[in-house]
């Protein structure tokens, strides 16, 4: 337990100490909200889809959590490169606990980053229908954070160095974001896109957030919750296995 707590705390300390990283990582969601939110707003309205900010905000929140979480997981490569990983791997602590501590820490960081974006969304004009939706929204945010931190950790457990990182960004993380319905409604898409969106885990996260925050859902909150919960568990188990196999 102490091990999990200490590794979680380490992750948070690193986050709070790198203010420039916090600020830098907020640029992207801000840009999406401003450029897309206000840029596409008029068209979206004319197409009879209502307020675009209301639609986009859950997508941007999901995006922020996705990127921060994957990045937190992938930080494992840094620790391998700079050597700190060795220190944790020779400690008399089962690897699974080390993996859990790291993952919870990374997920917490992603969640915090998500909170900041929620606030930015409010400033940009986003409104929640009922405040009772907030606990459920938190649950969805936490699940997205957990799922993708675990995914990042799993990937970083097999990557030896930074060279694979670009590959992961361009062929996994970017598609996960763009195909998730974060930016456009999933209804009435061409078949290929529709299939891709259905197998994209983030689709369920964004849909869940949208369901509880903006009362617009494609799959429905219950389906979203089940899919996210199941996927998080599976990825955590796979991640833990891969992590426990690391040799240096």
């Amino acid at each position: 337990m102490t091990a999990i707590y200490m590794l979680w705390l380490r992750q948070l300390k690193r986050y709070f100490r790198s203010r420039s990283r916090i600020v830098a990582s907020l640029g992207q969601p801000l840009l999406f909200l401003l450029a897309l939110g206000f840029g596409f707003g008029p068209i979206f309205r004319r197409a009879g889809q209502g307020n675009y900010i209301q639609f986009l905000a859950p997508g941007v929140i999901g995006m922020t959590i996705l990127f921060t979480a994957i990045f937190s997981g992938i930080e494992l490569i840094w620790d391998r490169q700079f050597g700190f990983l060795k220190e944790t791997l020779v400690a008399p602590v089962p690897r699974i606990l080390i993996m859990i501590g790291r993952t919870l820490g990374g997920a917490t960081v992603a969640l915090l980053q998500g909170f900041i974006v929620v606030i930015i969304c409010f400033v940009a004009g986003f409104r929640v229908h009922t405040f009772s939706a907030i606990p459920l929204a938190l649950l969805f945010m936490a699940l997205i954070a957990l799922l993708f931190t675990a995914l990042g950790t799993a990937i970083a457990s097999v990557l030896q160095d930074f060279q694979g990182f670009q590959l992961v960004m361009n062929f996994l993380v970017m598609p996960i974001f763009f195909l998730s319905g974060a930016l456009f409604p999933l209804a009435g898409l061409p078949v290929v896109l529709s299939v891709l969106a259905t197998i994209d885990p983030l689709s369920y996260g964004v849909d869940g957030l949208r369901a509880v925050l903006s009362s617009q859902a494609h799959f429905g909150a219950t389906v979203d919750l089940i899919v996210l919960g199941a996927l998080s568990s599976i990825v955590l188990v796979i991640g833990a296995r891969l992590f426990s196999r690391i040799q240096l």
Binding site: T2, M6, R14, R17, K86, E87, A91, V93, Q163, Q247
Partner: protein, 263 residues
Amino acid sequence: MIEVEHLVKSFGDIHAVRDISFNVHKGEIFAFLGPNGAGKTTTIKMLTTLLRPSSGRISIDGLDPVHHQNEVRKRFGIVFQDPSTDDELTAWENMDLHGALYGVPRRVRTERIEKLLRLFELWDRRGHPLKQFSGGMKRRLEIARALLHTPRIIFLDEPTLGLDPQTRNQLWAQVRKLNEEEQVTVFLTTHYMEEAERVSQRIAIIDHGQIVAQGTPAELKAQTSAATLEEAFLALTGSTIRDEGADQFAQMRTMAKMWSRRR
């Protein structure tokens, strides 16, 4: 304390360690010497549960590191050849995290951290992140950290790398003191032959993954009719040029393998 029989480690077609056997007795200071790329670090990684041996048997205090990982890990402290600290955290936080991972109770932890940081003259800088430390200060912190959980065995992989003579002397004095007063077993590597000769009771010399000689410093010198351990070492391991050549080939093979795996 440490028993190794027919230990082998290969990375693909690179044979880093080829069939080595040796024993380190309880309370002994044992030096493991060899040219660059000889297989010292690879051996230490296998002894400390970071790498699985390709074949052979290891026993640390009667336990097999492959099967009783956590039991073995509790028994040793290690200073790695390369840095292994978190540079964003302070000296104190690095120590505290280590103590917590090794299950040292909080009160004992606080006391021992203070004692060790003072001993290695880092106490005044305890609140500074390690990224503000000099290379030597970081090294000292790693050594202090390895002693925090009062291990029965310490592995020191080139611990004096990058340290000034004062700190080197102080470090070896500490190691000997621990060894004499608490019978801590020490397994060390170094490229400074006079250090090895001064502190170690027994030495094994490894070259190209094989042990070429074992014994007390006096025995090794007698065996090669050398005046110093450095001469004995050179007599046993040959010219540097040959070794560097071999190492370059090994590196090229590693590179080639990395490329072919990527494609």
